[in-house]
Amino acid sequence: MIHSLFLVNSSGDIFLEKHWKSVVSRSVCDYFFEAQERASEPENVPPVIPTPHHYLISVLRHRIYFVAVIQSEVPPLFVIEFLHRVVDTFQDYFGVCTEAAIKDNVVVVYELLEEMLDNGFPLATESNILKELIKPPTILRTVVNTITGSTNVGEQLPTGQLSVVPWRRTGVKYTNNEAYFDVVEEIDAIIDKSGSTITAEIQGVIDACVKLTGMPDLTLSFMNPRLLDDVSFHPCVRFKRWEAERILSFIPPDGNFRLLSYHVSSQNLVAIPVYVKHNITFREGSSQGRFELTLGPKQTMGKGVEAVLVSSQLPRGVLNTNLNPTQGTYTFDPVTKLLSWDVGKINPQKLPSLKGSMSLQAGASKPDENPTINIQFKIQQSALSGLKVNRLDMYGEKYKPFKGIKYMTKAGKFQALLSN
């Protein structure tokens, strides 16, 4: 299946290669570079590139291209999904997935890749099992290793792969047993120039951090499970139980994992938590334009809107801006024409606004492009859809774990269209 893997950085150097079958010359990447040149933006490189003898399937994460070389028919999503899993694993191991981190830990990377694929077919991709096989590097361990000459490779042979719950390692022990769940919802919306909603959807995830001794069997139930329109589960969740009773029943992996992700359909009306008022004018023939933008909270269930960040791609005709924010800081890059305004927290009593003038190219006519505003924000302690966890129970172990649940709402792809 996957023949070889090349890692390419943003300047087009291959800084790591790994082969699972016979060696493929790195010159195959030339086809990739060609495609990269043709593409106007980095993300416009086609994920699948056919070459005379191979196929290149690539993903772009953290400004690194992961280019897999394929020789024969294979579902492209299979490879793409696997490559993303590789990136997630690196991130899990090194905290970040940058070129420097990979180069620093090249041996661990190699060991990981060796375990993750056998003859190009995925072997161990569960983080729990990998961590048993190869210990993630920590500063302490690196120091100890250099002094004592001991290794990152697990001393005992792993057993998790052989057990009936392949996602959980065996023999887990904690002094403090705790289980935390984060319900995080992202709202995707497009708002048109008059302020009405074109589309709005909520995508949610429940991320868990479970540190429990032994083999706990957990059940999690919701007050209003009917809200969840479409769900996808971590493999540990017993699907039939969910189908029958709408209860999540599972033996969790050890550590951090994503328990489920869900979708709240657009049929349920989504309350948009912020609104935008704007007035942008370009006068024909004049070299001046006016810019005015005001943000305000809408339906936030009494919670404050925080970490607000507004960004917008202004038309090419704009040379510079001279704006005054009532709070926060703003920047404008005259080269990329990117305006960004870090607002911070919205104070409902005194709404933040950004006002001023833009200087336009002299003699240029009114730009006909349609600028959009992307907005980011966070609302703590509330899930926009109203999803509530009812209770969490544990079976199979005797101790009493400490349990915690946190809710948060974030803006996903939240866009407002501006008039002109």
């Binding site: 579902p75 793409i80 696997f82 039939k240």
Partner: protein, 1146 residues
């Protein structure tokens, strides 16, 4: 392969030279000498005693490999450390070894013994890792060793090792495709494995080695369906893709009646209720579907009823739409798209839309597939229209794909919203995207008549856009639209004529000129003026525009020659001297055609017809149209070109193949066994029930009952009853496999003990039972001559129990027998009434054994259930014979196989053959026309009502080297008659199947004959001394690694198989060998007392190449025995060992 090895050569040759990237490597220092030095110190470190130094060195070497630097000259130093105690050093050495072994084959052999030792390690993980590395080393010399290791690992106790064996299969196959046959055997064995761990990997191996052998799946189909949800995610993808292909060959098209109906209808109703949460919804669907099919059935042929196995697949894959893995979701989606009834396909839309939230690469692939699906099944995605709206932050390639989907989804009801969306898109910064949007508007306009004018007006407005690209794209699209109804739009044409002054994009200019030329009657005043302007700028235009100017001139000349004659001539003269020969040619051609001269031929009369013919409007089609002939989700689909190794998705069969091939022998004691598994699980299962039982209660019984009556018409009543039984069976096996996979760990111990007890209890039974039936006197004498260990005490104790048990089971068994056994067997059982009771007992015993095999940690049971039965038959027969022969003490060894005992195989089933059934057996007689061929006796039986004519063989598809000698054509085979013929096949000493077509006067059937290895040889006569000499010769001549031409296996003979004749009989049944008379031993060396343990020797040679095959069986006390096979042909040898072993131990 060749390309890569060439690359290796180049790299290997230039270990120190030609590394252009030294500058990037901080450690190398950038010059040769330091590089040399560095390698020297690495060597030193590797040779040191300290693990930490070794580790440091290995880490640096691996870092070099990772950067693509050549480290092959360190091979000798590294390979020494393969047995290092430190785990990390060892692992890194493995990494190195796998990378460079191909280049340094000789040195790599040094490491092999370490892995061979590892293969025998008591720890399963070490065994697995040894096999993994051994199989990853691409050194052709060790192919036989790899083969042996894989075979051994395939029957390992640990499922993890078996999984590794499955992974190793494609590796060996890519190294040496010659091994295909043996590998297929291993695959077949592993396919029967019941653990989820193995399932995914073995199917992957199947797909890479022998995807065409779909017949291997039959027996495992239901098991795979039931295990699917517990298999790891990557395995799920592979299994689902394979099962899609399988289902396409085995089931009927669920939409075959609906395809005749208009689209829509039932679809609307279905989408109304697409909440999918409730299972009663599902019921509705099914009812509706049934009603629909019933309705159409009256019009058309008999009603379609879904095969229960087809339903099983759909039901068991559906939950996987909820997987977090996009590849799994996509796999299920394509399965539903290709296999599900139209009304049920809708469930996948929601899941696919969910995937669109994922990374952009995932979106890209999903959108490609959605685009294809949305053409065929537009209704499915309509509710999710808004999810395909485009965001300004999407990458261009995603935007264009979303646009494609939106266009496909557009219809009369939603077009206004879609067009409003499009309007915002046109204002985007991204010009490529804007151009694509304009094209999309054009397509909407052609497809939906109501909005054509609106679209056209919108596009005309765009003509005044400031961006030239937008205008140009609009012109091109408008041109296409105008072709549909030019009469009403002369305004637009006039408007566009004016544009020629401003637009510079060649394609747009050409389009305008073409339009004016085409519709010059509508703009009679403007057209000549445009030509005038164009003639002025002719020399500066692009080629494509010049061609259109000539075109315009020609058309005007034909319609309005008064005004344009001079202009046309001017243009043609200009074109005559153009640089481009296309233009010169065109000018010459047109001049001859339109300007009447005395020379001009008949064509000029038709010039008007040629130029002013009515041209059909272009059809704007989606590039994704008809892409679904590729399996969705595949690479080939994405590229719209067949990728290497792509397996074509077959079309539905006209008539369903025999569904009974998927039936697995019913294991009676299974429910009992599940009962004793943990109670907790059962509770949970009860809770699960509603999910399954709902849908089953609706579909299960009715469907199976229907299908039973359906098939009953064609097949015997026996298969009908079997059919209805299969429903409940699959449920049982479902439960059992689930609990098996979940609980094997805890339960294993208990079960084992239990089973052991059972065996103990069972063992004496067959013996004590068989005794009264066969001649008692003989038995007694035999007992005297060969004292047995069987204790009479246990016999008497167990006797009562076993007898009552056997009488209980007798009834059930006789039923089953009638179903399963072939005619021939019935015949033999009928002719030998006394041997019947013991046979049954044996069968019972066999069942208990297979119960044992249910245990996850046991090697998988052999899938062919016929063989053991046959062996039992023959063994009981032998005991009879033995009695006879012992009395006169002279035994002619070669005549021991009674001809009636030849095993027959089915070549063509009566149902698929439309009344013609064909069986074959290996007659073991030399094939007289060609001694290098194996004689195959073929028996035709015509059970149809009409006679079959001109039966003959045609179109043999053989592996290279194989030959076939056809039998003479059978001219007529009257109804009800049977006829036998003999044909010869040269299998080239391989077990590759010979494929050919069997033709009647009406039809052709594809059939294949696959020989068991034992039939590939013929007996030769040899004395014992000769035998020994040959054996030694064989060993010495090659004298290489053991296991190359001598294979020795220890085994335990069953008690009733310990007799000399039993052994001889079984070996000769398994392989066509002759016995080497042992009496000669005494003649040669009279003083030596007869050996304490008899040795049975057999000799033969392969049919094609005449290589010797020597087999010896040494029997020892307590039924222990040793089997040795010597053969130059490694493959034949190993396969033969396996077959004989099976024959002797069962």
């Amino acid at each position: 392969m060749s390309a890569s090895s060439a690359f290796n050569d180049e790299k290997g040759g230039s270990s120190n030279v030609g590394e252009p990237e030294y500058g990037h490597d901080p450690a190398s220092g950038g010059i040769f000498s330091s590089d040399y030095k560095r390698h020297d110190d690495l060597k030193e470190m590797l040779d040191s005693n300290k693990d930490s130094l070794k580790l440091e060195a290995m880490k640096r070497i691996v870092a070099m490999i990772a950067r693509g630097k050549n480290a092959s000259d360190l091979f000798p130093a590294v390979v020494k450390n393969v047995a290092c105690k430190n785990i990390e050093v060892k692992k890194l050495v493995y990494v190195y070894l796998v990378r460079y072994a191909e280049e340094q084959q000789d040195l790599a052999l040094l490491s092999i013994s370490t892995f061979q030792r590892g293969l025998k390690d008591p720890n399963q993980l070490i065994r697995a890792s040894a096999l993994r590395v051994l199989s990853s080393i691409r050194v052709t010399i060790i192919v036989p060793i790899m083969m042996l290791a894989i075979k051994e690992a395939a029957s390992d106790m640990s499922p993890y090792v078996r999984k590794t064996a499955a992974h190793a299969i494609p590796k060996l196959y890519s190294l040496d495709p010659e091994q295909k046959d043996c590998l297929i055997e291993v695959i077949e064995k592993l396919l029967a494995d019941k653990t989820t761990l193995v399932a995914g990997s073995v199917v992957m191996a199947f797909e890479e080695v022998c995807p065409e052998r779909i017949d291997l799946i039959h027996k495992n189909y239901r098991k795979l369906c039931n295990l699917l949800i517990d298999v790891e995610e990557w395995g799920q993808v592979v299994i689902i893709n394979m099962l899609t292909r399988y289902a396409r060959t085995q089931f009927l098209n669920p939409n075959m009646n609906e395809s005749l109906l208009e689209e829509g209808g039932g679809e609307k109703a279905f989408y109304g209720s697409d909440n999918d949460d409730d299972t009663d919804d599902e019921e509705d669907k099914e009812e509706k579907e049934k009603k629909k099919t019933e309705a159409t059935a009256i019009v058309k042929r008999k009603p379609y009823v879904m095969d229960p196995d087809h339903r099983l697949l759909l039901r068991n894959t559906k939950p996987l739409l909820q997987s977090r893995n996009a590849a799994v979701v996509m796999a299920v989606a394509q399965l539903y798209f290709h296999l599900a009834p139209k009304a049920e396909v809708g469930v996948i839309a929601k899941a696919l839309v969910r995937l669109m939230r994922s990374h952009s690469e995932v979106q890209y692939v999903v959108l490609q597939n959605v685009a294809t699906m949305s053409i065929k099944r537009r209704g499915m995605f309509e509710p999710y229209l808004k999810s395909f709206y485009i965001r300004s932050t999407d990458p261009t390639q995603i935007k264009v794909l979303k646009l494609e989907v939106l266009t496909n989804l557009a219809n009369e009801t939603n077009i206004s919203t879609i067009l409003r969306e499009f309007q915002t898109y046109i204002k985007s910064n991204d010009k490529d995207f804007v151009a694509a949007t304009i094209q999309a508007i054009g397509r909407c306009a052609t497809n939906i008549g109501e909005v054509r004018d609106t679209c056209l007006n919108g596009l005309v407005q765009l003509l005044s856009n400031r961006d030239e690209l937008v205008v140009a794209e609009s012109v091109v699209v408008i041109k296409k639209l105008l072709q549909m109804q030019p009469e009403q739009h002369s305004d637009i044409i006039k408007h566009m004529a004016k544009l020629t002054d401003n637009i510079q994009v060649p394609m747009a200019r050409a389009s305008i000129l073409w339009l004016i030329g085409e519709y010059c009657e509508h703009v009679p005043k403007i057209a000549p003026d445009v030509l005038r302007k164009m003639a002025k700028t002719f020399t500066n235009e692009e080629d494509i525009v010049k061609l259109q100017i000539i075109n315009l001139a020609a058309k005007l000349y034909l319609t309005n020659s008064k005004q344009t004659k001079l202009l046309t001539q001017y243009v043609l003269n200009l074109a005559k001297y153009d640089q481009n020969y296309d233009i010169r040619d065109r000018a010459r051609f047109i001049r001859q055609l339109i300007v009447p001269t005395d020379k001009s031929g008949a064509l000029s009369k038709y010039a008007k017809k040629l130029f002013l013919a009515l041209k059909p409007a272009p059809v704007l089609e989606s590039p994704f149209k008809d892409r679904d002939h590729f399996q969705l989700g595949s690479l080939s689909h994405l590229l719209n070109a067949k990728a290497g190794g792509y397996q074509v998705l077959p079309d539905w069969p006209e008539a369903a193949p025999d569904p009974s091939v998927r039936n697995v022998e019913v294991k009676e004691s299974v429910p009992e066994w599940t009962k004793c598994s943990s109670r907790e699980k059962r509770k949970e299962k009860k809770a699960d029930k509603p999910f399954y039982s709902d849908s089953e209660g609706e579909s299960g019984p009715t469907e199976s009952a229907d299908s039973a009556s359906d098939t009953a018409s064609g097949s015997e009543s026996g298969s009908g009853s079997e059919e209805s039984g299969s429903g409940s069976e699959s449920e049982e096996s479902n439960e059992e496999s689930e609990s098996a996979s979940e609980e094997d760990e805890e339960e294993e111990g208990k079960k084992k003990k239990k089973n052991v007890e059972k065996i103990k209890a069972r063992k004496p039974v067959p013996e004590s039972e068989s005794e009264p039936s066969s001649g008692e006197d003989v038995k007694k004498s035999e007992k005297k001559s060969k004292p047995r260990i069987g204790s009479s005490e246990s016999e008497s104790e167990e006797d009562n129990d076993s007898e009552s048990e056997s009488s209980e089971s007798e009834e059930e068994e006789s039923e089953e027998e009638s179903e399963e056994e072939t005619k021939k067997k019935k015949k033999t059982t009928a002719s030998k009434p006394p041997s019947k009771p013991p046979k049954k007992e044996n069968k019972k015993e066999k069942k208990e054994m297979s119960l044992l095999d249910f245990d996850d940690f046991d090697p998988a049971p052999s899938p062919s259930q016929v063989t053991p039965l046959n062996n039992f038959l023959s063994s009981s027969l032998v005991t009879d014979l033995e009695g006879l022969s012992l009395t006169d003490n002279v035994l002619s060894p070669t005549t021991i196989i009674p001809s009636g005992n030849l095993k027959t195989y089915e070549l063509l089933h009566r149902i698929t053959g439309e009344g013609l059934s064909v069986e074959y057996c290996f007659s073991r007689q030399p094939f007289s026309p060609d001694p290098h061929m194996v004689a195959v006796k073929i028996q035709f039986t015509n059970s149809a009502t009409s006679e079959a004519k001109s039966l003959h063989v045609e179109d043999a598809k053989l592996q290279s080297g194989m030959r076939i000698k056809e039998f003479p054509e059978i001219e007529v085979l009257p109804a009800g008659e049977t006829v036998s013929v003999v044909m010869g096949i040269d299998f080239c000493d391989s077990t590759q199947a010979a494929n050919f077509q069997l033709c009647t006067h009406t039809r052709k059937f594809f059939v294949s004959i696959q020989p068991p290895v034992g039939e590939l040889m013929m007996p030769i006569f040899m004395t014992e001394n000769e035998f020994k000499k040959e054996q030694e010769m064989l060993l010495q001549s090659l004298g290489q690694l053991m296991g190359m031409n001598e294979i020795t296996e220890k085994l335990t003979l069953e008690e009733k198989c310990q007799g000399e004749h039993a052994v001889v009989q079984r070996v000769t049944t398994a392989a066509n060998l002759s016995r080497v008379p042992c009496g000669s031993d005494k003649e040669c060396s009279p003083p030596v007392p007869p050996p304490p343990f008899p040795i049975h020797r057999f000799a033969g040679k392969t049919v094609t190449s005449g290589s010797l095959v020597l087999v010896s069986v040494v029997t020892k006390e307590d039924g222990a025995a040793q089997l040795t096979v010597n053969c130059e042909k490694m493959v034949i040898g190993t396969m033969l060992v396996k077959d004989i072993l099976q024959a002797l131990t069962q």
